[in-house]
Symmetry: C2
Subunit: 249 residues, 2 copies
DNA sequence: AAACACTGTTCGTTTTGCGAACATATGTTT
DNA sequence: AAACATATGTTCGCAAAACGAACAGTGTTT
């Protein structure tokens, strides 16, 4: 490599990131397959992670321990965005009585960096650190608005738009249309595009230079809330907080 | 070492964990000092972390990026405890109208694994992944109740009880007394022991075998809430949810 | 100007990690 | 019971990685 680095660190982090909702525990062979490493290499990574306390071993399977939260906390403890955002998300949740989140663009995903859970249950799997594909989420459709024309062309040309429901936009034209609508309306509303029964709305957070740096979203069940309610009652509250947050950045 | 491992992985994770509230950004020399590594080794770690997108580099300083949240999410996406706890914390927050958290014992700290922020601001720095010393926090005084007598003796003998406020218990006897009171009362109340103006109460979460596996806490300002209100109004709500959560484990 | 602190780079040396191969164990299928 | 498939634990000679002291350059402080 051009500059000397730490190949073992890269491998170990890849092994850690192989754990997730679809792989709550991993055996050595599973970890090797998930990462493309040899079995011996995957075993070395897992042994070191276990020695350091980041994963637990039950004799066959490895699982992440709470210690990994320390790694995640390095962002939460050092970055202004989630810390400034949290009171706004709490205030939106109080006013709207639904779960609300803040996401940033991370590669081809929305990555959730702050969250305030409402009391009503919605099993969306959204939590701090979770990702959702940009094209299929309201936050993503807002965040894509920050791309230049060439970046957007590249994104549309290289992304496989896999349907999550029968409402998911699955062509480049349909996705581009959603992005343009989000730019025009100053919000994106996703009506069962990500998950059946799930309504969500996102608004952009702009920095003082006017760039989209994050998106705030509210999610609710279609059985409880209508699209018109989202637009007319929820969006103004979100936009007020998004503007206030943008001013603090 | 007895078993072959990944020394580079250990070093890289140590560098990542050097970031935090007291070190939101690190230069190469600062990272080397914080971890005891040589400057060249710290640089290799940071370069690899930057190449992988876990830290950003501004030409002089490194800072964690949202990608580190992915590592933290491996626990949140795979473990039952925080997922089962979250609705309970939201319900407690709704009923009590204050921030509430769930912590587990991690070495000599309480480590926060789930959180529900109230609308009222309390700058305690508590967030998922944050740690507080066991002896100085209400969750810690509850969690210490899970130690065997010999584990507790060892903890008391080896811990330096640094005062955080003039109310912090700073002798082994005083700490042991708080732990015994928590066992007896089924709760711990911390009145300005951690931070001036901060009141907090914690109750244990027991697994079906009756072991303390976590603690739920509520924090409030002394200007808003009294100790009697915590005990008489808040504790019963917390205990009801703690019991329900314990049954789900 | 001198001293100090920090960074970028180098390269001979030391140490680590590699991974195929082998033996063993476990679970499934016939 | 036997055969088969999958997985795990371990080994070890070797190549590659990582080490870190030393040097040169830069910026700041005295």
């Amino acid at each position: 490599m051009a500059t000397e680095g730490m190949a073992g660190l890269a491998k170990g982090l890849a092994v850690l990131e192989a754990f997730g909702a679809s792989a709550p525990r991993l055996s050595i062979s599973e970890a090797a397959r998930a990462t493309g490493l040899s079995r011996a290499t995957a075993l070395r990574c897992l042994n070191t992670l276990a020695e350091l306390g980041y994963v637990a071993f039950d004799g066959k399977f490895f699982t992440p321990t709470p210690r990994v939260l320390r790694i995640g906390a390095t962002y939460g403890e050092t970055a202004a965005l989630p810390q400034l955002a949290q009171p706004h998300l709490s205030a939106i949740r109080e006013a709207i009585d639904e779960s609300t989140s803040l996401a940033v663009r991370y590669e081809t995903d929305s990555l959730f960096v702050a969250r305030s859970e409402g009391a009503r249950l919605l099993n969306t799997g959204v939590r701090v650190g979770a990702r959702l594909p940009l094209y299929a989420s309201s936050t993503g459709q807002v965040l894509l608005g920050s791309l230049t024309d060439s970046e957007l062309s590249d994104y549309l040309a290289t992304t496989e738009f896999t349907a999550r429901t029968s409402h998911t936009p699955t062509t480049a034209d349909a996705v581009a249309e959603r992005i343009e609508a989000a730019r025009t309306d100053g919000m994106a509303i996703s009506n069962e595009e990500l998950e059946p029964g799930l309504l969500s709305i996102a608004v952009p957070v702009l920095d003082p230079a006017g760039h989209i740096v994050a998106a705030i979203s509210v999610s609710a069940s279609t059985s409880r809330v209508t699209v018109d309610e989202l637009r007319d009652r929820v969006a103004p509250v979100m936009q007020r907080h998004a503007t206030a947050l943008g001013r603090q950045l």
